[in-house]
């Protein structure tokens, strides 16, 4: 059960971040040339791989209770950010994430920027892709490392993330357009719920608390977080004024 949650969480988080990174890379490639854009992607992937290689083994030597407390606390704070934004979007207090609109803005910015070449690569296109993939990728790395290390299975979390990366990149190459039809807002809601659920579960265990039924209570916490989030959406929706995208 927990392994399933682990893979699903890593997959969903990676998929939504990859969709956002893809939009930036596409805008960079279309406006500034694919060589610069893909060089930026490659450089960011190397940096992300270095972060995983450096931090992954280090996390596995931390005692499990201390790890659960640190990871649980971080996931809880981090997850509440996701959940807060998702609830604000779902209740109409924040504009929904729109990949088409973001793509149009990024494209206009990229086309208007001056061209400066370094080593045969357009610098703006390189930096745009590099930053996009690195920043979106760091969230994935954070989730994969924290989930994976606490469950003692970084490879399983990496598998979930890897499948999402391959899937989104494959679809992106095939359609060569922003993936605006991916239910990104719903997926972000799901990731926020999962991060918060695991954060509550591990932080409680990390400080010496015991769950009734041990791991079996994880789905109960999940249902509780979903129900509470849905109630908050319903409560806030009553007071919402429509927000333009």
């Amino acid at each position: 059960m927990t392994a399933g949650f682990l893979v699903l969480s890593a997959f969903l988080a990676s998929a939504v971040e990859m969709v956002e990174a893809l939009t930036i890379v596409l805008a960079s490639g279309v406006a500034r040339g694919w060589r610069s854009s893909l060089t930026g992607v490659g450089a960011a992937v190397v940096v992300l791989a270095a972060v995983v290689a450096a931090l992954g083994p280090a996390l596995t030597v931390i005692p499990i209770d201390a790890l659960r407390l640190v990871v649980g606390s971080l996931l809880l704070v981090f997850g509440l950010q996701w959940l807060r934004k998702a609830i604000l979007r779902a209740s109409g207090h924040k504009a929904l994430h729109d990949e088409d609109a973001i793509f149009a803005t990024e494209l206009a910015d990229a086309r208007s920027a001056a061209r400066r070449e370094r080593a045969g690569v357009d610098w703006y296109g390189f930096v745009l892709s590099f930053k996009g993939v690195l920043l979106e990728g760091l969230e994935v790395v954070f989730i994969v490392l924290t989930f994976g290390s606490t469950q003692g299975s970084i490879p399983l979390a990496t598998l979930g993330a890897g499948v999402a990366v391959v899937l989104v990149a494959g679809i992106g190459v095939a359609v060569r357009a922003p993936l605006a039809r991916v239910p990104e807002n719903t997926m972000k809601f799901a990731v926020g719920v999962m991060l918060t659920t695991f954060g509550i579960f591990w932080a409680t265990e990390g400080v010496g608390g015991h769950w009734p039924g041990s791991d079996a209570s994880l789905p109960v916490v999940l249902v509780f977080v979903i129900a509470a989030s849905a109630a908050l959406v319903a409560l806030l929706r009553r007071r919402a004024v429509p927000v333009a995208a």
Binding site: S73, L76, L80, G199, I200, T204, W211, F224, S229
Partner: protein, 66 residues
């Protein structure tokens, strides 16, 4: 050098804590209270889920008010 360290720290603060530091403080207090209950031999599992919903509600109200 100092500028880089500050920028590095600010990046991680924004990355993990985001734009509502009060939510992070609320979570820290709730975890501390859970630890205190657990150390006293009292069942503590119920506290964090309830506290998180309360923190989330307050954080949402702050975001809407802002």
């Amino acid at each position: 050098m100092k500028k880089s360290i500050v920028a590095f720290g600010r990046f991680w603060w924004d990355f993990v804590v985001g734009d509502d530091w009060l939510a992070a403080v609320g979570v820290a207090i709730a975890i501390g209270a859970t630890a205190a209950l657990a150390a006293g031999g009292i069942a503590a599992w119920w506290l964090l889920p309830l506290a998180v919903v309360l923190v989330l509600y307050v954080s949402l109200r702050r975001a809407i008010a802002a």
